[in-house]
């Protein structure tokens, strides 16, 4: 087919009215993340003013402020940030490949698989507690693979994946509950983990999670194009020459990898993977080139903010961040749902 010579309308292209809004969202999300980190470093049972935080960060002194900022708050904040990045990235990807706004890392069994493995370790083999992250990560990965395999029938359609996910989730959830009821005297140790908590997270946790996050984010760059095709629908993506099943499998694997790593360190933190990509989509639209990085930043920011609130509001009790996220996330989600219905 001969394409007629056509004058490039470069001027017209540049006049994208979304451009300014997108730049604003980018800049302000990074700014909000930095503010969340700063406020997180300042707040807690012992408030530290910004100036002292700054000195404590830059100078390795022996002061109390340095102890709190450098050894307690900073690693905890950074661990929470990485977990938020991983969960929100996974959620953004999964909502796209399932073309379902309710998808989150839980839907493919990541939470229930990781949760069951962690509960088994904590209740049945408490002496092996050091292996908890590895066990949770393996459990999450295994559950996701089982869900994928169960839904395969000449291809894994989003609907079958969701149905298989629901079935596997309820099975694993039942096993988890049974274990806890049979060992009710040990449940106390499990509860904070179950609701997702950053209590006592320190540099080793950060160092464990960092490579997973970095590898995951780098790999996700290569899957952006694939995700942008999959959201058009399976048929449209195939017609555009995309290998739909392979692309979906890679995206599910990456999401499982990142979400599994996150929950193995911070426990079953919910709602970040569901709510953050949702809000970001309302702000910047469905293009993954923007949706993904901004969801990642937003996820990091939300976990830091929620953990800061959980630490400061309920002082001296250290409230698990996951509970606060669910308490705030659920009403907000209902609000979004109503808004969507009215539109």
């Amino acid at each position: 087919m001969a394409i007629v010579a056509w004058k490039p309308a470069a001027a017209e292209r540049a006049r994208n009215p979304r451009f300014i809004r997108n730049v604003t969202v980018c800049v302000s999300s990074i700014a909000l993340l930095l503010i969340a980190v700063l406020v997180g470093l300042m707040s807690g049972s012992i408030p530290i003013p910004a100036g002292e935080v700054w000195t404590a960060l830059l100078h390795a002194t022996d002061t109390e402020a340095r102890q709190i900022v450098w050894n307690l708050r900073l690693p905890r904040i950074l661990t929470g940030m990485l977990a938020g990045i991983c969960l929100a990235t996974a959620g953004a990807f999964l909502q796209g490949v399932f073309r379902n706004p309710l998808a989150d890392p839980g839907i493919i069994g990541v939470s229930s698989g990781g949760g069951l493995a962690a509960v088994v370790i904590m209740i049945l083999f408490p002496e092996q507690i050091a292996f908890l992250p590895i066990a949770a990560f393996t459990g999450a990965l295994t559950a996701a693979i089982v869900v994928y395999a169960l839904s395969w029938k000449g291809g894994a359609s989003p609907l079958r994946l969701i149905l298989a996910g629901v079935a596997v989730n309820s099975l694993l959830g039942a096993a988890m509950t049974a274990l806890m009821i049979l060992n009710s005297e040990k449940v106390q140790a499990v509860l904070p983990w179950m609701s997702g908590s950053l209590n006592g997270r320190s540099w080793p946790h950060f160092e464990t999670l960092l490579p997973y996050t970095v590898i995951g984010m780098m790999a996700s760059i290569f899957l952006i194009k694939q995700a942008n095709l999959l959201v058009l629908g399976d048929d449209a993506a195939k017609v555009l020459g995309s290998k739909v099943e392979a692309g979906r499998l890679w995206i599910i694997l990456l999401s499982t990898f990142m979400a599994g790593a996150a929950i193995s360190i911070v426990g079953m933190v919910g709602f970040v993977g569901l709510v953050v990509p949702h809000i970001v989509r309302l702000l910047v639209g469905s293009d993954y080139r923007l949706l993904l990085p901004i969801s990642a930043i937003g996820g990091g920011m939300l976990v830091i903010a929620a953990d800061t609130a959980a630490r400061s509001w309920f002082d001296p009790i250290e409230f698990p961040v996951g509970i606060l996220l669910a308490l705030l996330g659920a009403p907000f989600f209902l609000y979004l749902l109503r808004r969507g219905l009215n539109r």
Partner: protein, 273 residues
């Protein structure tokens, strides 16, 4: 010159019941072919097989003399595209962004739509008269505009062959004709081969060069609209009585009623089972 598309002896079935069986078709380059037939005749399934969305159980599809089964997905996507009846409707992306994704088969995995690819996007927006809407979100468009945006995405693939599955079903009559006129322009001016499943037989007669009628998964009639549109055609294929008029060389049919059939002879035999 070899056929744009040529299918021979296609078979496809859901479970064991064949939906398409022994389907043959050949389409010349630059032709506009209409596929018509009653509900459940398998015409959409045929189109999906031609677009390689479903693999045929049996039979061969050749594109420009090459067997499609042996071709790379992207290679096919550079030459053949399909516009479906309905599309994903919740996408919040701009028209231009949608059309840019049409360049995917021409890009290597690490490439972005830039430079000369953007020029093709400009061209696709121009031929579909979407330049003024290019920065609108798909959510803000009317049904007709949205269908045109998806057609523009198909055009950005710079295809030789365009398959369409009843693309006008959910459009009002003015938007139906607008889309048909647009496809006619693409067919005539760009030389794109068009294969289209249609419901509206009068539109089929007006726009298509040739019509193929499908019933029970196989071609039962084919020919130019003026040869094909006779009362027995409507009786045999659709089971209706119809009058056919001539409108300056284009046949127009007027349905008058359902053909009276024997009162369900199959029912007795199925009861015997």
């Amino acid at each position: 010159m070899s056929d744009a598309l040529c299918a021979s002896d296609l078979k496809y079935g859901y479970r064991s019941e064949p939906v398409v069986d022994g389907f043959d078709l050949s389409v010349a380059p630059g032709e506009w072919l209409g596929i018509v037939g009653p509900n459940g005749s398998g015409k959409s399934t045929v189109l999906r097989m031609l677009a390689r969305l479903v693999p045929p159980e049996r039979g061969v599809i050749m594109m420009g003399g090459q067997n499609m089964a042996g071709m790379n997905t992207k290679e096919i996507a550079r030459r053949l595209t399909m516009l479906a009846q309905t599309q994903e409707s919740s996408l919040d992306i701009t028209v231009r962004e949608l059309v840019r994704r049409g360049r995917n088969p021409h890009l290597k995995w690490y490439e972005e739509c830039r430079g000369k690819h953007e020029d093709v996007v400009d061209w696709a927006l121009q031929v579909t008269s979407l330049e003024s809407l290019q920065h609108r979100s798909l959510l803000e468009l009317s049904g007709g505009e949205r269908q045109r945006a998806w057609l523009a995405m198909c055009m950005a693939q710079s295809p030789e062959t365009l398959l369409l599955d009843e693309p006008t079903t959910y459009l009002d009559i003015a938007h139906q004709l607008e889309l048909m006129e647009l496809i006619r322009r693409l067919n005539r001016e760009q030389g794109i081969t068009v294969i289209m499943v249609l419901h509206d037989l009068n539109q089929a007669a007006r726009y298509c060069d040739r019509i193929v009628a499908v019933k029970k998964g196989a071609v039962v009639r084919e020919g130019r609209p003026s040869e094909l549109f006779k009362t027995d055609f409507f009786r045999d294929v659709f089971g209706i009585e119809a009058k056919v008029y001539d409108d300056e060389g284009v046949p127009v049919y007027l349905p008058c009623g359902v053909v009276r059939q024997q009162p369900y002879p199959e029912k007795a035999s199925s009861a015997a089972l």
